[in-house]
């Protein structure tokens, strides 16, 4: 993973001396320490490292390509490089001054950003210990809503395309065929070849309510809820955004909840995730609750400005 072109051979011989390396590395570490913890060292000294400059330039150029900037910095003229360093120094100095003056207080953007970074710091990446059966069952019961399998429908349909036939003719053709289908007790597979080519599917086998609604519209699926499943009774015409449909609904299963055994892996994963988030939240809550809170001026009775002043 070494970067190309970072070999030492091109350096003059005195720069290849290990003592010089020691001193340079020591100096860099010292400087880096100063950059990371400026106050602990010398708050009035600004160290400009390559990484800091790259990061800075990325935001300036809005070009989040580390390697591009890394290379671009090498290609800058001395004057351009100095200008970049000056700009960085200007920003760093003014930033520190602003912090020292407390100007970060009361700014919502700064507040939110700092909170986000703190939350990240408390994100727990360790896997929690194995979860017991009872604990898992408790979780499953509590969040059973998340595991409900949606209602599913099995039906076939004959479609009459209004774009092709016009609305009146499509409806008329559907009505006529409906009588024939029911008189002759045409079965499920009888829909093949009848009517017009369906836009999406001819047969919907164990499809969810959402899926059918996405294909044929909310109205059609709502109608299906009022149809008695049957292997020979066709129903319709039902309207969709695309035309008229004759439907043979052979089964409709209500929404149901699988046993824990059937979905244990998924529940376990969700539990793990929830615990992770919970741990983070707890740690954050601990921070929050370590503060003493004093609420003033919210009680309508104390809306009077005088009493608020007294509290203060």
């Amino acid at each position: 993973m070494t970067k190309p072109g970072r070999k030492l051979a091109w350096l003059p011989s005195w720069l290849q001396d290990p003592l010089i390396h020691f001193l340079v590395i020591g100096g860099v570490l010292f400087a880096a320490y100063g950059l990371i913890v400026p106050d602990a060292n010398d708050p009035r000294r600004i160290t400009v490292s390559r990484d800091a400059l790259i990061n800075f330039a990325q935001y300036r150029a809005n070009t989040f390509q580390f390697d591009v900037i890394d290379q671009a910095i090498d290609e800058l003229t001395a004057g351009e490089r100095q200008a970049l360093v000056d700009e960085y120094v200007r920003e760093e100095a003014l930033y520190r001054e602003a912090i020292a003056m407390g100007l970060d207080q009361g700014d919502d953007v700064i507040r939110q950003r700092l909170i986000q970074r703190l939350e990240f710091l408390f994100e727990d990446n360790d896997e929690p210990a194995d979860v017991g059966r009872d604990e898992l069952m408790k979780f499953y019961t509590e969040y059973s809503d998340d595991y409900i399998e949606p209602a599913i429908y099995t039906f076939t349909h004959v479609f009459f395309n209004t774009e092709r036939r016009g609305d009146a003719e499509a409806h008329e053709a559907a009505t006529q065929l409906l009588a024939e289908l029911n008189e002759q007790s045409i079965p499920f597979s009888g829909s093949l070849g009848l009517g017009d080519r369906p836009l999406y599917f001819q047969n919907y086998i164990e499809r969810t309510r959402d899926f059918i609604a996405a294909n044929l519209g909310q109205d059609l699926i709502s109608m299906l809820d009022h149809v008695e499943p049957s292997t020979s009774t066709w129903y319709g015409p039902i309207q969709s955004p695309y035309g008229w449909h004759l439907v043979l609904l052979t089964s409709r299963e209500s929404a149901w909840l699988p046993n824990l055994e059937q979905i244990e892996d998924r529940v376990r994963e969700d539990y793990r995730r929830m615990r992770k988030e919970q741990t983070q939240r707890q740690q954050l809550d601990e921070i929050i609750s370590s503060y003493e809170v004093n609420v003033i001026g919210l009680d309508p009775e104390f809306r009077n400005a005088e009493s608020v002043k007294e509290e203060n």
């Binding site: 993973m1 070009t63 390509q65 070849g193 080519r197 695309y242």
Partner: protein
């Protein structure tokens, strides 16, 4: 502002909630939808842009349709229609956002990060339901020229851990070096790879050149090696559309579509020396070049299938115009408010496009089957809508085949699907294409279907021509062009309706200019009726004038591009 965004998201979610992702069943293949290009906090640039904690696991979970907390907006979001497959493609080497202790520029760090990364894919891979392909991005950008490749493999995590993902630093900076690495790794471990070049629009004349990386004319060996590893191109993504440019296709009235950062010459680069559009930057010109090179050396290096992906850096793959929340965490809008949105430095955020996605005709939703569909280029690109598109090429399709109950049976029975080849026309019969396009079930109606043909004449010159082949409504072509369909977009309210356009368009098109002695390619472009652009939704949510606030067209015609079919004499 956060309040506005939340309610806006809620409304949008409710509007499109009624869908769920299930493959569309065809005769031999099912249609699966996926994104092959998502960056997470593991990418250095994503991390420094504020994506500090949205990891690969979150990318997969969001793509699977599970609720996640939005990393920048802080609200709970869920993809209304899950994806069927996803490639998380973080830049290698990984950055400080990978939750590993230590210096990121060490082998230990990279190995540990890669292991976590591969495990996230494995954990979320559910054959038959959701496919998590293990991949990454090989990123080389000399002087701002994008020579980027997404690489993915059907291999499982255990196998993937036997290599470290290639980067220009580890392979060498030429694409040829990447292909050598792919070949060596493939030989060593017995696994396959697919590399997909992208952002050719930002390559500064380098992506589809007439020469190799050392300036030598392209040889048959170069062409074969390139096609072995890079059979496709990402033609649509957030940073722009690479299909073509009005500069090269002045006759194409639909060429100026989401050109991204090139729109006002506002290109991401650092030195200010990016050149004007170059034929090597665009896919249509590359397809044309390929015909000429094949004539010269016998192999076509640019026989490219077309696919779409996002290249989002927010971890969340969202291409719906009414949901799209920017591509960099810091630039996510409009929650940040108007003053934070328009321009940061040189890159106007609004130039980003809420696109793209890949439709794959595959025998199954598994790593192996999907990779095979990419390899045979039986995939296509859309700018976001899930437009169902079939195209078959043959010599004997007849007009009534367009009305067949089972288009797939006719198509596979009498022709080759998109991505395929035709050769040596029998008795000089012209190429005929059987095309079937159906609107996104929860999206906008279709305006028209076009065939884009490119060919090489006997003088060695290349040509392109666009045919309107089937369209909605009673419009008559004028000078070979069907007039615009009009618009139902209400810009002030960011709405449209489906009172114009067709739900379904199908036809058999016979090439009226066919010459059995000329090399040619054909691909299909499907256009939707105009719908509001994401910038319009955002502006309206903020109570601002869309055109004035964003400088972008308020409405766009979303589209699908098929992979081409090639004809060889």
């Amino acid at each position: 502002m956060m309040q506005i965004r939340k309610s806006y998201l809620l409304v949008s979610l409710t509007l499109v909630m009624c869908a769920s992702a299930r493959p569309v069943v065809g005769q031999e293949r099912n249609l699966y939808w996926g994104d092959t290009h998502v960056h997470t906090s593991y990418s250095r640039d994503a991390f420094s842009a504020g994506n500090v904690n949205a990891d690969p696991d979150m990318a997969y979970r969001f793509a699977r349709g599970l609720p996640v907390v939005h990393p920048s907006l802080g609200n709970r979001v869920r993809l209304d229609r899950p994806l069927d497959f996803l490639v998380v493609a973080d830049h290698t080497p990984f950055g400080s956002g990978a939750p590993v202790e230590g210096d990121r520029d060490t082998l230990e760090f990279q190995t540990a990060a890669w292991s976590l990364y591969a495990d996230a894919a494995e954990r979320n891979n559910d054959p038959g339901t959701f496919t998590a392909l293990i991949g990454w991005e090989w990123t080389y950008t000399p002087g701002g020229q994008h020579l980027h490749r997404v690489v993915f493999t059907p291999a499982d995590a255990e196998t993937a851990k036997q290599f470290l993902p290639a980067s220009p630093a580890s392979t060498g900076v030429r694409p040829e070096d990447l292909w050598n690495w792919l070949e060596a790794t493939s030989d060593r471990l017995g696994i396959d790879f697919v590399a997909i070049p992208h952002n050719s629009n930002l390559s500064g004349g380098r992506m589809f050149e007439m020469v190799d990386s050392d300036g030598r004319p392209i040889s048959a060996e170069y062409a074969r090696t390139r096609m072995r590893w890079e059979p496709l191109v990402e033609v649509l993504q957030i940073k722009g559309t690479s299909e073509t440019h009005p500069f090269f296709s002045p006759e194409d009235e639909f060429a100026d579509f989401e050109l991204g950062y090139q729109r006002d010459g506002n290109i991401i680069h650092t030195r200010g020396d990016m050149t004007a559009p170059d034929p090597a930057d665009y896919v249509r010109t590359a397809l044309l070049r390929g015909l000429g090179i094949e004539e010269e050396v016998g192999v076509n290096p640019y026989k490219l299938g077309l696919q779409g992906a996002t290249d989002t850096h927010t971890t969340l793959s969202d291409t719906d115009e009414d949901l799209f929340a920017g591509w960099l965490a810091r630039l996510t809008g409009p929650a940040n408010g108007p003053e934070a949105l328009p321009v940061f430095g040189r890159v106007a955020t609004w130039n980003s496009a809420a696109q793209g996605i890949t439709g794959a005709w595959s025998t199954a939703n598994t790593r192996e089957a999907l990779t095979a569909s990419f390899k045979r280029k039986e995939v296509y690109a859309t700018s976001g809508p899930r437009i169902q598109l079939r195209m078959f090429g043959g010599f004997e399709f007849e007009t009534e085949d367009a009305n067949a109950r089972d288009i797939a049976a006719v198509g596979y029975g009498g022709g080759v699907p998109m991505g395929g080849d035709l050769a040596q026309a029998p008795s000089d019969s012209p190429v005929s294409l059987l095309i079937h396009a159906v609107k996104d079930p929860v999206g906008a109606n279709l305006d028209r279907v076009q065939v884009i043909k490119g060919w090489l004449d006997d003088e060695g010159e290349t040509h392109e021509r666009i045919y309107d082949v089937v369209w909605a409504g009673a419009r008559t072509a004028v000078n070979g062009k069907v007039p615009p369909i009009g618009s139902t977009v209400d810009v002030a309210r960011a709405t449209y309706d489906n009172t114009i356009g067709s739900a379904e368009l199908s036809t058999v098109w016979v090439d009226p200019d066919f010459d059995p002695d000329e090399r040619a390619f054909y691909y299909v472009r499907v256009l939707e009726i105009p719908t509001p652009r994401y910038s319009t939704y955002d502006a309206v949510a903020l109570g601002l004038d869309p055109a004035e606030f964003t400088g972008q067209p308020p409405a766009i015609q979303e589209r699908a591009f098929s992979s081409p079919i090639w004809y060889t004499p």
